[in-house]
Point group: C2
Chain length 417, copies 2
């Protein structure tokens, strides 16, 4: 699917432009239950991830949910380490995103079959089963199965109390809808004022254009939100390492809480150097971190102060479980990346699981919120006063309405003809 978001400047940043797209996977059981999953992409890129899903589909078509649940890592590896496709990665980019779309659909299906929202399915899952769902290959130097089990066992205590907190208050979040690079200053100011009035006390702006423009826009937002609300900045990888350090020295006067993606997503050592230079400002990254091995190194190198997991970049729920547990092991808070197509819908489940069973605190936790495209989902996110309300329907909130699928399928949908 493609959605015509580019014309409005929505989603514009220092490096990405195009219509928000998604490669949508639907798995139907013989009994007619349907699991949905997707990976978020950008414009023309979506055709390539669709080709990758087709190349992987035979690993899931005809399988039974019970068999997959019984040997989850074997299933996961059949996708992530397909002997004919691994050369195209390994575990990164197009093929890994396609793996994620399929794996996410399997989890949506499973949660629906068990009649629970995904966060609840995961939070209530026995420790040994959660551990059996994680592929520890290539991360045992940072997290062993025993260490993971210890964290998950500890998370069982007071779990009901934490759920009560979420039922009462919702999950903290921040908004990115105020400061896209494509917006003029007066639009930034009015959107910031509106968001503040709605209750948001944490907002993110894009940086990475001419530095004087970034400074001017940061001043507009800080003027509107006052000294106490949090202001985050996101450079979308546009800077070199030394350039990031120099630019953050200029932007520091606006007291940013974090600088997100200050340089190339693969540059673990570069992020570490930037983190040492800009502290106490935190370095945040993750929406383009290719897999658990990159996250492992970001943690080992003390390169980040905030870890931004993504639901669709890596190999789906199983790999995100590994990432959440590694973050807990290294004491770094998780603030999931959202926006795009349906990322808010997905990551709320992951953030809630992290709080209930792994991280066990809301301190430093926020889920990104972007007010785009929720109307196409059958179980859209709901927010109140800058907080996500706990999802209650069975599944992973991944299902798109049939009418939206028909309308925005590319290129044959009426929206594109």
């Amino acid at each position: 699917m493609r959605f015509p978001t580019a014309a409005a400047g929505d989603g514009s940043d220092a490096i990405n432009r195009g219509d928000y797209s998604a490669t949508y996977v639907s798995l139907k059981t013989d009994e007619g239950v349907e699991g949905a999953g997707f990976t978020f992409t950008n414009g023309r890129g979506n055709e390539i991830t669709c080709a990758a899903v087709r190349a992987l589909a035979h690993h899931v078509v005809g399988r039974s949910m019970a068999d997959i649940a019984a040997e989850p890592v074997a299933f996961w590896r059949s996708l992530a380490a397909d002997a004919q496709l691994r050369w195209l990665g390994p575990e990164k980019g197009v093929i890994h995103m396609a793996t994620g779309a399929i794996v996410n659909a399997v989890w949506d299906l499973r949660a629906k079959l068990e009649g629970k929202p995904l966060w609840k399915l995961l939070a209530e899952m026995p420790t040994d089963e959660l551990v059996r769902n994680i592929d520890f290959r290539h991360i045992t130097d940072a997290l062993t199965p025993d260490e993971a089990a210890a964290i998950l066992d500890k998370g069982l205590s007071s779990l009901d109390d934490r759920r009560t907190v979420l039922e009462r208050e919702g999950f903290p979040s921040y908004t990115t809808s105020v400061g896209w690079l494509g917006y003029p200053d007066d639009k930034v100011r009015s959107l910031t004022r509106q968001a503040y009035a709605e209750g948001w006390r944490a907002m993110k702006m894009k940086v990475g254009g001419p530095i004087d423009d970034d400074v001017r826009r940061a001043r507009v937002i800080r003027e509107e939100i006052g000294p106490d609300a949090l202001l985050m900045m996101d450079a979308n990888q546009v800077w070199d390492v030394d350039e990031a350090i120099a630019n953050m020295a200029r932007l520091a006067e606006f007291d940013p809480y974090w600088i997100e993606e200050p340089t190339h997503a693969d540059d673990v050592l570069g992020h570490a150097r930037i983190q040492r230079a800009v502290a106490p400002i935190r370095v945040a990254t993750g929406e383009v971190a290719a897999n658990r091995v990159i996250f492992k190194q970001l943690l080992q190198a003390e390169a980040i102060g905030v870890m931004q997991i993504d639901a669709c970049r890596v190999g789906g729920v199983n790999e995100v479980l590994a990432e959440i547990l590694m973050a807990a092991r290294f004491g770094v808070p998780i603030c999931p990346h959202a926006g795009g197509v349906g990322l808010c819908e997905l990551v709320q489940h992951l953030a809630v699981f992290d709080y209930l069973r792994v991280g066990t605190t809301l301190s430093g936790r926020m889920v990104e919120y972007v007010d785009h495209l929720h109307e196409h989902f059958t179980d859209p996110v709901r927010t109140r006063g800058g907080r996500y309300l706990l999802p209650s329907e069975p599944g992973y909130s991944a299902t798109i309405k049939p009418a939206s699928i028909a309308e925005f399928s590319f290129p044959e949908g009426p929206a594109w003809r």
Copy 2:
């Protein structure tokens, strides 16, 4: 194209299996000159890289060679940072390999138009033009344009003497044809004996199966080649970090010169730990290093003792130039990855350029040699006594014979029908 290599066990290692494939790009000028480029893939993966080349093709179709040569980084970025495709990477995996196929075809075309083999075009190119062909974004903390220019200027002295050496002696190489995991011990022994008789004094075996099997096969090869010839080992990423260190402690008795891909290709910090533990055995990697940013970190972290550039994994010749110059800046020898489809044909040009203009020594330099599929190329590699002979035809030796294209096109070629 697909070639039926899987049935013979050729190319089998600890993690990849399938028929060798290539996504082949042909660029024709209005005058009928044809440039060829490709990226090497594996089996079914080739359909995905083909889709990616189609998504990028509009950046090159209709352009003039003169315009591209005048603004090479702008052209390179139009592919590598396409605003709708960068989300699928950035600069890694499927989309980056597709970029490489197109960029390689552009260089083959340019070399043919100038009537020179690629190595000669590059070695004789003025320093400022070579520097203008490199995108320094995200690597200036390791190599600046001025540092690159200084290396290239220095490489101009005695260049003719070095070319005379190559014309007389050829370029050193090693063979990987003796020790694929799919071969039984007696085949390994007879192939090793044959290679030694042909003059090879450096051979590579695959490891990463059960360690006792690896030990047994290493003993067979070392028995055949004696104590002085070089034995390299390649684990194709199958080990965890601590597992690699433990296994190399057992394999050390066979005096390996390097251990290649001991763990996940993205694990810069893991390679660094392994390198510290196994020294003086060298850690080698690169055939799956996604881009120049990964190579930069491998060098910065002192994680490798041998850097294995690949001609088709990254964004083509322009990005490899950056990698060759970074290796020189950090004093690490380059031993290019080859094999697959046509990788020997391509990397010989890169290794020769490195020796003539950048590294300026043959010490520690070897090009991999695998005896597969050369018969399909119009200008195949030629070897004598374990050395590559200098290519002399204009271009990048990338052109596949029309009859082979017809025969092995997938799925419509007669070989597959």
